[in-house]
Amino acid sequence: MIVRCARCQTAYRLGRASVPERGMRVRCPGCGHVFRVRPATAAGDGEPRPRRLVETRPSHSVDDLSLERDERRPPQLRQRPTTRRTPQTQTRTPTPSPQPMRRALGGQRTLDLSAPETQAGPEMRLETAPFQPGRASPVATPRPEPTPRRSDSPRSRDDLQLAPATPAPFERPADGTGPEQPVSPPATPSPFATPSPLATPSPFGSERPSGAPTAVATRRPKSAAASDLEQARERALRLARVLVSDILVYNQEDRDRALREGTLASTLGAEVNRAWELYKSKVDPEVLRKTSYFKDALNEILAAGQKVF
């Protein structure tokens, strides 16, 4: 089937068998736009959905909130029935349940696609990006470089979830069969421990232990332990991105100016330090040691893809 990016209009050939019945989200390697593809649709899949808005009422009064007035009105079409106390509700346990994380690992793929309608017709990679909590927002951060990413790149957030055939030294395979802890990893140095941490290049550079991991005996079933670790990673990744995103949206003007002037680290250093401290306090120490989610988020979100941190 042919799919076409709504933003740049580039067409790609996508194997129909690759598309699940419920559809999937794909990222255009050319422009980074993410759109949904369904098996039944062909070219034009990337057309944006029409936005539907609730009509604006001219004015409101407190009576609008009363039951009596409300019941005289026809129900809002977009309001779902309030019969919602289904057992499924219970899956929203007070603590983060695995249910929203159901596609935490399995759905991430990279498909090779050819662009049949372009002259060059180079082989291109179209990334599928199933919508997942804890992962990047689908169109938030178009990659500055549309070049295909290697599946073994440890810097790729996607790849961290892909469980490559040859796991990175600091990673455990997703199937839980691999070692769970690295060999005596050095204590995670605080990237912002020095008085002017951001002035030093690559503050997180030494975060990952370089030693090869070894198996550590555990009494828990490996699959359960792997699941726990993956959940911890998901949460850490999401927390890092949210903390950095908060810095961005609350300091948008300062950040834009600092980015132009090349003073990002010094301008927002206090905010970054504060976020880092919170991140450290909330993230599983093992995940903190083995990943660089926070630094990646800083570079990707706050520095707009530049390697500032």
Partner: protein, 192 residues
């Protein structure tokens, strides 16, 4: 938990606007404040930073008429959305009667929505509550912006149990009263 004062014949209900930072919680409350008759509303109290960002909460009391001789008073609160202010959010949720989750539709804030939703569940649990115990509605705000997440994707991730939800443009008032009305109805039904 609604506060019923038999001596003054008043019932006070607490509705909390929850959600990620800069999602539009305060905008919702301010819009409600600007569109109501003076006799129906109290003073809007806002504890904000100099940048006009919610530091602790916003508070707006509303009078919604009477039921069986009892004056119904709704207290609208917002929480600070930034991750840092979790203690404040936890405190403000105490005694909550209804929650409006204001989600930011911008794709760049999708993770923030999910994190805030998790945080809300955790904080409700701190008070011995589950979301299914509390009148609840979602508002997908900023639907007029570019680069918003598709509604079905927001629903899939934030609202798998299909609570009432509304699309909104809070700066223009679109969806603001629809959302509040939905939750207030649920609260009043629970009272009855």
């Amino acid at each position: 938990m609604s506060l019923i004062n038999y001596s003054t014949q008043e019932i006070s209900c607490k509705v909390v606007y929850y959600g990620p930072g800069l999602g539009g919680k305060t905008t919702n409350v301010r819009y409600v404040y600007t569109r109501l008759r003076p006799e129906s509303k109290g003073k809007l109290i806002s504890l904000a930073t100099e940048m006009d960002r919610t530091l602790f909460f916003d508070f707006l009391p509303l009078d919604l008429g009477t039921i069986k001789g009892f004056q119904i008073r709704f207290h609208l609160y917002t929480v600070p959305g930034q991750v840092y202010y979790d203690a404040s959010r936890k405190l403000i949720l105490r005694g909550v009667d209804g929650i409006i989750f204001v989600a930011d539709s911008l794709a760049s804030r999708f993770d923030a929505n999910v994190e805030s939703m998790y945080n809300m569940h955790e904080n409700l649990a701190e008070h011995g509550l589950m979301l299914s115990d509390v009148p609840f509605a979602l508002q997908y705000n900023k639907r007029d912006m570019r680069d918003v997440v598709a509604l079905e994707d927001l629903q899939e991730e934030l609202n798998p149990s299909r609570y009432p939800y509304f699309e909104a443009v809070a700066t223009q008032g679109v969806g603001v009263f629809d959302t509040l009305k939905s939750v207030s109805k649920q609260v009043l039904r629970k009272l009855a």
